[in-house]
């Protein structure tokens, strides 16, 4: 009789144990450890010895030309990819939300990139970007434009990664916008049709304003994701651009702790902490926008029940 209540009390813990152990070792501890390492000076990873505690790593990171370049590239990349992909996605999501034929085909086409290895697809893009035999330059030639040296030149490199980046992020953006569109009350459209409003007018006067909270959200989420760009660099250039010209913040972290020998854990950690702070800022913004969106819809409680 005494045993049972005790077992009842620790039972939730038993259920949670495998999950919690794994989270603590592979998520929680790494975060704490990186923050700690970022403040240790002269840290020797093998012995665990360090000479002091301070902001030296941060000073070094900011003084590092690669990191400055990384910051510049990352912001430029976010500013190029996010607005363009969001604009395209708003149009496409709106079309996909209509009653259309071949829905299955379009869904497959638009969402396929979400399930396929970005590395493998990136190699296909590399093939398409090829300066001499690539189909992209061939198409540019057909339209009468100058070929671009996508892979061989620094300026081309950036364009290549932006094109690939927009293409990669579109499916996710469209999906988020679609779920926003499905939240719009059809009543608005019925009313507009009764009034005889034209399609474009409906789009700009009803869809876009009502979708505004979702669009804001998508812009923030995409900013976070594009800010973490570095996957794209591997298939296209096997590194940070042809001439070490395309460092991004996350590539810089990867470079410091995995490419360099001996690895510079301190610098990688300091850069990672700054990444965390940036993402945290964006996430707070996201929360605020979500709260605003819920107020806008004016049905906080109702919305939860519907799910």
């Amino acid at each position: 009789m005494i045993k049972r209540p005790f077992f009842e009390r620790i039972k939730p813990l038993l259920y949670l144990l495998p999950f919690i152990i794994s989270v603590v070792i592979f998520t929680l501890y790494p975060i704490v450890n990186v923050i700690r390492m970022s403040f240790l000076e002269g840290y020797k990873y093998l012995t665990g010895a360090y000479t002091g505690v301070g902001l030296e790593n941060y000073q070094k990171v900011f003084a590092d030309p690669y990191f400055r370049q990384a910051l510049g590239n990352t912001f430029k990349y976010v500013l190029c990819v996010v607005p363009i992909s969001t604009a395209i996605a708003v149009v496409l999501a709106n079309l996909l939300n209509q009653k259309i034929k071949f829905q299955a085909f379009f869904q497959t086409a638009y969402f396929l990139p979400m399930v396929t290895s970005s590395l493998a697809v990136g190699l296909a893009w590399r093939f398409m970007f090829n300066d001499k035999i690539g189909i992209l330059n061939y198409i540019l030639g057909l339209i009468g434009l100058e070929p671009v040296n996508w892979l061989g030149q620094s300026s081309g490199n950036f364009m290549a990664v932006v094109v690939f980046g927009i293409w990669s992020i579109l499916p996710n953006t469209i999906i988020l916008l679609l779920s926003g569109l499905q939240n719009i009350d059809p009543m608005y459209y019925t009313a507009a049709k009764v009034d005889g409003a034209k399609t474009l007018r409906i789009f700009f006067r009803i869809t876009v304003p009502l979708l505004a909270p979702t669009i804001m959200l998508v812009i923030i989420i995409n900013s976070i994701n594009t800010f973490k760009m570095y996957h794209e660099l591997f298939p296209l250039f096997s590194g940070p651009g042809v001439a070490y010209n395309l460092f991004t913040v996350v590539y810089y972290i990867y470079y410091e702790f995995r490419v360099l020998t001996p690895p510079k854990y301190g610098l990688a950690s300091a850069a990672a902490v700054m990444l965390l702070i940036t993402v945290f800022g964006f996430t707070m913004l996201q929360r605020a926008v979500q709260a605003w969106a819920r107020r806008e819809r004016g049905e906080d409680g109702k919305d939860k029940k519907r799910k």
């Binding site: 085909f105 497959t108 086409a109 979400m114 493998a120 296909a124 398409m128 779920s179 959200l217």
Partner: protein
């Protein structure tokens, strides 16, 4: 476009819509978009069947001259152990899915049904961990794996992914939607929590579990950076890392790389064609959390 009539009821209704210039324009835009999204895949797969000469032709051929030319695939399998990579990918996949599903089911149940102090607080703290960029975590995990002597072992690809806060969040959401009365009734009937979870909850959560397992499979299959960091030798490489190594080791021949890339993406394309709805519904929950 094709004038094939669909038997589908819903689509038959669409057919009744009167023709208009606007609708035509809509389809034109949608089709151009679809072509752009699919084209890299088309180019990859057709490129894999082209010969060395054909791949360098200008203007490029839109369709391979000899569509039964499997030379590049044979070359890929002969120069690099893609068969072995495939098995490794499969092992990592099975390992991740089984362990992660297990921890997820237990944790989601505990957070949804069992009472313990600080439940809500712990769960919301866990949720806030989701925003931490994975790239930050990877630094320490690499060291942990090395310290545990698991570097270059298949376990290195499984251990760090034995739990997922995001999947637990999805499954807890489903468990929450199951009426509590069912749980109370089962308890009155003397059903233990453990039995109730596996006999009642899990079978009911089939579609949520399917979504989780699919998302997990896609993520594990395509994961490239962690395998590249945590493994090294050919014996433990997974497909994407093997493909990346092939790129540097197998020379820069485009048609061969396209063949290797095709090997990597084909399983996921097939899964997507069959389980599109689950995957899309899962993906649409990915972005908007909390």
């Amino acid at each position: 476009m094709a004038k094939t009539r669909s038997v589908n009821n819903e689509e038959a209704q669409v057919n009744k819509e009167p023709f208009s210039f606007g609708r035509l324009l809509m389809y034109v835009v949608l089709i151009i978009g679809a072509v752009i999204m699919i084209f890299p895949f088309y180019w990859m797969i057709t490129g894999a069947f082209k010969s060395k000469i054909e791949v360098n032709l200008m203007p490029p051929t839109l369709f391979p001259q000899n569509p039964l030319n499997f030379e590049n695939f044979i070359y890929a399998f002969q120069t690099a152990p893609f068969g072995k990579y495939f098995v490794n990918s499969l092992l990592a996949l099975i390992g991740c899915i089984t362990t992660c599903s297990f921890t997820t089911i237990l944790a989601a149940f505990a957070f949804s049904r069992l009472r313990f102090p600080g439940r809500e607080l712990i769960f919301s703290l866990l949720l806030s961990l989701m925003m931490v960029p994975y790239e930050m975590i990877i630094i320490t995990n690499y060291r942990t794996i090395v310290q545990w002597g698991l570097h270059d072992k298949i376990w290195a690809l499984i251990l760090p992914f034995m739990s997922s806060i995001f999947y637990t969040y999805i499954l807890k959401g489903f468990f929450d939607s199951v009426p509590d009365s069912l749980y109370q009734a089962a308890k009155v009937d003397g059903c233990s929590d453990w039995k109730y979870l596996w006999r009642v909850m899990v079978p009911m959560a089939k579609s949520s579990l399917a979504t989780i397992i699919l998302l997990n499979s896609i993520a594990t299959w395509n994961s490239f950076l962690w395998p590249m960091i945590a493994t090294n030798s050919k014996d433990v490489r997974t497909l994407p890392f093997g493909l990346y190594a092939f790129m540097t080791e197998g020379g820069q021949r485009n048609e061969r790389m396209m063949a290797a890339a095709t090997i990597v993406v084909l399983p996921m394309i097939i899964i997507f064609l069959f389980a599109r709805k689950y995957i899309i519904s899962g993906m649409s929950r990915g972005g908007i959390k909390g």
